[in-house]
Symmetry: C3
Subunit: 154 residues, 3 copies
């Protein structure tokens, strides 16, 4: 167990088994010290835990919880890409936060905080990152949030 | 003719002449070993081959075909940026797939596969990439798909 | 005063005081020679200067003006990240332009030109960048435009 594994355990977070997409893209791609993680949705064991939109089906707080599940999935894919060793993470560089929302919804930043907060809980100061948080009026299978990420690794 | 040019020929793909945008952005920007390609739409010779939205105007299969045209345009801009030598491509790092879709549409990943599949047909294993596939409810000139890309080059 | 400060002054542009978000993300994140700037909206002194959508509330020209304000805020965050020295900028690598637009709006590129043009006014040829310009049907607090950016620095 590494330090970050210990931290995850202390937070009560179990990273799920990863599923590689049945397609010509991959969950993670490395370029030098950068690891790009594909957009993750709030699913576990192949089932979407949330489907619907912010501003109608879900409250901002529910959206945050969904974003946190996306972020857990991001970390699961990252660990897989790092051969199980999350201690190789230098920091979180950027998150892209995509919120499936009604046209009058405006709390995208709060929703995406569900993912940002997890990064800082797990990595501390090194978890602080640049970010874009935007609205979509549709997402894959009508999930409420999708999170993509860029990490610096050693 | 390079190896990738041969591959394109064997796939029956002719890269179109590139058009630089009449604006203060450029089709491709290099940073070290990275080449960023601006969002490409399904146009050829200055004409949009598809206009309309997924979930109403176009089927998922038509969206895939449009995404493939976007990806061909990505490769055309990349070749131009590499002075004609696509053999300098080390791999595809990330695709951003933006699907112009009705609010109840959910098959964004299948649509963007039209671009991802082309990358693997052309570059083989090195063509596998990280990806985000999201929905937009409007895109430039109402095209159904836009694809941006990041490549690693030597 | 550096060269870029002089250029900003000659353009009549005053970079605003920066505000760090009250959250677990940061306005700017460096990775080697790259600086990622978080999505900026058209606000100043904590107030949104524009709220509403393209295609209904705002004309394309008003959207361009809003995009320019976003870009000024991008530069303010970048200067802060570079300890006040914008002469360390090697160039603008990529802009992400997110336009809050009605479903039939199609002039996203023109709107985002408001940001792209500023980059070239300030940095000259080094200001030319790759770009994706897409439509959203909602953005934080219903602002009409959000701009994120990637810079190369020394
Ligand atoms: Ca949208």
């Amino acid at each position: 167990m590494g330090k970050i594994d210990d931290k995850l355990a202390s937070l009560g977070i179990t990273l799920p088994a990863t599923v590689a997409p049945a397609a010509n893209y991959v969950p993670a791609r490395r370029l030098g010290t950068q690891v790009f993680i594909s957009g993750q949705v709030p699913s576990r064991d192949g089932k979407d835990l949330y489907t619907g939109k912010l501003g109608s089906d879900f409250s901002t707080e529910e959206g945050q919880a969904a974003a946190r599940v996306c972020a857990v999935n991001v970390l699961a894919q990252l660990r897989q890409a790092l051969d199980g060793d999350l201690d190789r993470v230098v920091g979180v560089v950027r998150l892209g936060g995509f919120v499936n929302a009604e046209p009058d919804f405006g709390e995208h930043p709060k929703v995406v905080n569900g993912a940002s907060d997890l990064m800082v809980e797990v990595f501390g100061e090194a978890g602080r990152h640049a970010r874009a948080a935007i609205g979509c009026y549709s997402l894959p299978r009508n999930v409420p949030v999708e999170i993509e990420a860029l990490f610096e690794v050693r």
